[in-house]
């Protein structure tokens, strides 16, 4: 067996195990961490397919940023596990239908070569050509407009996030060290002249 194959099976085994744990772990934080592991090993599999840009961006974007957000959301919601498990049988029919649809779709894609559909064309990159460069060339020539649209979508997401979650900076009273340093005795106390009261 080739070394590449060994690495592939190693990464795939981790991926499948982590993906299983995502749906079976009782603690949502554990599930999220297993999702991190599965993203990471998926990145490894992509690197084996020589899709290095995808491999790096899944680590950078999904593992680095999206999963942090997931963890924050899980911790913010303060999920009560028993309450979630309560509705299991109510949601089972809907969940089963969605799951079945996904299995059928994946089967249709993976089994297409047996069903007679044309095999997907996987472009082979020539040796010595970086596919990050190739991707950049396409992205910045043919797909310039979608690329610029992406920035608009990011802008919309940014503004929406601020509008939805930002409640204004908390009005807390705090001391400004710079002002404290420059304060003079005269600013602190005001000496009042008062006529002495006569005692009867």
């Amino acid at each position: 067996m080739e070394f590449k194959t060994v690495v592939f099976y190693f990464l795939s085994a981790i991926l499948v195990y982590a993906a299983l744990r995502v749906i079976t772990a009782r603690n949502p934080v554990h599930a999220a961490l297993h999702l991190v592991l599965s993203f990471f090993s998926a990145g490894g599999v992509w690197a084996l397919l020589q899709a290095e840009f995808l491999a790096i961006s899944i680590v950078l974007v999904y593992v680095g940023a999206v999963m942090v957000l997931f963890l924050f959301v899980v911790m913010m919601l303060d999920i009560n596990i028993d309450r979630i498990r309560e509705g299991f049988w109510n949601y089972l029919p809907l969940g089963a239908v969605v799951g079945l649809l996904m299995v059928v779709e994946m089967g249709a894609i993976l089994g297409s070569q047996y069903l007679g559909a044309a095999e997907a064309q996987v472009p082979q990159t020539a040796a010595g050509v970086s596919n990050v460069k190739e991707l950049g060339r396409l992205l910045f020539t043919e797909y310039v407009y979608p690329f610029e649209l992406a920035s608009v979508i990011l802008l919309v997401a940014l503004i929406a996030a601020i509008v939805l979650t930002h409640r204004g900076a908390k009005k807390t009273k705090y001391t400004d060290p710079a002002k404290q340093v420059f304060v003079k005795a005269a600013d602190r106390i005001r000496v009042l002249q008062m006529p002495a009261e006569k005692q009867d």
């Binding site: 974007v61 940023a65 913010m76 303060d78 920035s151 930002h166």
Partner: protein, 124 residues
Amino acid sequence: MLENYFPILLFILVGIAIGVLPIVLGWLIAPNRPDAEKLSPYECGFEAFEDARMKFDVRYYLIAILFILFDLEIAFLFPWATIFKEIVNTEAVKWFGFAEMMVFIAILVVGYIYAWVKGALEWE
């Protein structure tokens, strides 16, 4: 092509080993005689005030989402940076290639200024 990744694979394996070895060694070598007092939660000598798994402030979420958005921006900058020399050396797309990224960044800077003005980057 794939041979170039071998150092990375080696690095990951060494990283795993460095992470796992101390745990395994500690588990094998260290004496393990737990009792109820040793296993109880410890907070600077007094009883724990509350559960450590408390709710997070929503402000962390805002910081995280801002981080994702600018992280994605970086992901777009990366392929641009790799072909930048090519863009500059090709007369036909010289300014076009530069301007498209500037437009992309300018649109996001609008969002950045909005976040700044709104005070979303401030903690207190």
